[in-house]
């Protein structure tokens, strides 16, 4: 069986598992939304201020709270299940790809949900919807792969995974924020798209190439 088929099977069942748990929809999206709600309580509710900081705050929330999506319960299989997959000969790269893909889809859902909340609360000027349709998945993919790698090296361990992800995700944050600002100002954003794409490619390669090592280290 090819790695892709294995990944596809695992992805399907992971998404089914998450659908039943509902952790992202019922917990993480509301959590991110609450963050966007309390920020104006701290910085002020002036309309022009909120309109200017809204997109930036959005990306910060996506980064910090998106980590929670990648560390959800359904992303970490119990040790016995993991052992069973190892004995079945499931390629570790397939497991990484499936977990990262599931996290990416759920992060995209999170971005859209929290994005709608931000537009309502902050009323920013949003331009370049077409480009944003590219930026959102690139960000989701990068955060998902980072979170999956962090989850693997920490074996799903508590606060350590977010600490590993957050500073490494800063290039993703900067790329997304600069691209959004560039779209608003009408300046070129191609370099930021390339930054996001480059980070995604590097993380994908790193995740696939180190998957076997990380699987050994979890036993």
């Amino acid at each position: 069986m090819t790695v892709w088929r294995q990944a596809a099977f695992l992805l399907g069942f992971q998404l089914r598992d998450e659908l039943r748990t509902g952790e992202v929809i019922a917990v993480v999206i509301p959590f991110g939304s609450i963050a966007l709600l309390v920020i104006p309580m701290a910085v002020g509710i002036e309309t022009t201020l909120l309109a200017s900081i809204g997109p930036g705050m959005y990306w910060a929330v996506v980064l910090l709270f998106g980590v929670v999506v990648t560390q959800r319960r359904t992303a970490t299989s119990n040790p016995s299940h993991r052992d069973a997959l190892v004995l079945l000969g499931v390629d570790p790269a397939a497991r990484f790809a499936a977990t990262a893909a599931a996290s990416a889809l759920l992060l995209l859902l999170f971005e859209i949900g929290v994005g709608l909340v931000m537009i309502v609360l902050y009323d920013p000027v949003v331009a370049g919807w077409g480009w944003l349709a590219l930026v959102l998945p690139l960000v989701a993919a990068g955060l998902a792969m980072l979170g999956t790698i962090a989850g693997s090296v920490t074996d799903g361990g508590g606060a350590l995974a977010p600490l590993l992800v957050a500073p490494l995700a800063i290039p993703i944050l900067l790329g997304a924020a600069q691209a959004t600002e560039g779209l608003r100002l009408g300046t070129g954003i191609l370099r930021w798209i390339l930054v996001l794409a480059l980070v995604d490619v590097v993380l994908a390669l790193a995740g696939v190439l180190t998957a076997r090592v990380l699987e050994e280290s979890s036993r």
Binding site: L10, N78, P79, S80, L87, L88, G89
Partner: protein, 277 residues
């Protein structure tokens, strides 16, 4: 022991001939059990395809040991788990492993399953040298039933088995057959999280049936099983050994497993201290 004769050499170990003899006797018994099962109409995933031969010949018996390890030590930071374990499991043999709590039985099973690398020592499992990449070739032929079931809590029993069947290259229907064989077809739609320990343990045996292993490792197999399901353990052990595979069975219940095993070993002070019977 099930049927057969035994003779021992001066050092208390069975001779190869004696082991072969008892294994052939076991085959004859397994084959007759299979004939009865085929006649009863009950599904058995270890049955050959319809019309295939039921009687296996001695010449088809694999020659190399299923497990042959020597000097195995496992060390964790600040703790020595296994000191010097040497163990052999021959084709068609079921070995019982006993020992006190904390003696390292589960760790030894994980070493034999190639899931834990020994700190020192070596040997082969299904012909693959331990601690090398070669073990990846033989892993699909190994099944481990551990303390905790290998089930995803929020998936149903049926979904769990279907996932494992697909990853094992089996048909999706085989998952349903396996659940039926262990008496769980009626609970196929129930989430694993709400099933009892015994039900989850039965689902584990369904998983073993899908794997059709040549080396079966059972860690406290009877825990949580009712008497009817206890017979299931015997059938699975006989199925594996009858096909020339090996079984290592960890248990605290010597009386319950005594009839299933050919030899019993005890793990103490990080070593196997009672080879043979």
């Amino acid at each position: 022991m099930v049927g057969g004769e035994s003779s021992t050499t001066g050092d208390g170990n069975k001779s190869q001939f004696a082991i072969r003899n008892s294994q052939f006797a076991r085959w004859r018994q397994v084959c007759s059990c299979r004939q009865r099962a085929a006649g009863s109409g009950k599904p058995d995933l270890f049955l050959p395809a319809a019309g295939g031969p039921l009687l296996l010949t001695l010449a088809a018996m694999p020659e190399d040991p299923i497990v042959a390890v020597e000097g195995i030590a496992v060390r964790r930071p600040g703790a020595l788990i296994l000191r010097d374990v040497s163990l052999q499991v021959l084709p068609g043999e079921a070995v019982g492993l006993f020992g006190a709590n904390g003696s390292g039985k589960t760790t030894l099973l994980r070493v034999l399953a190639t899931l834990t690398r020994p700190s020192s020592g070596g040997g082969t499992v299904l012909g693959a040298p331990l601690g090398t990449d070669a073990v990846e070739r033989v892993r699909p032929r190994i099944a481990l039933v551990a303390h905790d079931p290998a089930l995803v809590a929020n998936l149903t029993l049926g979904e769990n088995l279907r996932l494992l069947a697909l990853l094992a290259g089996r048909r999706v229907d085989d998952a349903a057959r396996a659940l039926e064989a262990v008496g769980l077809s009626g609970a196929s739609g129930r989430r694993a999280a709400v099933c009892s320990n015994g039900m989850r343990r039965r689902a584990e045996f369904a998983r073993v049936m899908l794997a059709e292993p040549d080396l079966l490792l059972l860690d406290e197999a009877h825990v949580g099983l009712d008497p009817a399901a206890g017979d299931l353990v015997a059938r699975i052990v006989e199925s594996v050994t009858g096909r020339g595979g090996g079984v290592v069975l960890v248990s605290h219940e010597r009386e319950r497993v005594g009839s299933l095993i050919d030899r019993s070993l005890t793990l103490a002070d990080g070593r196997i201290t009672e080879p043979g019977r």
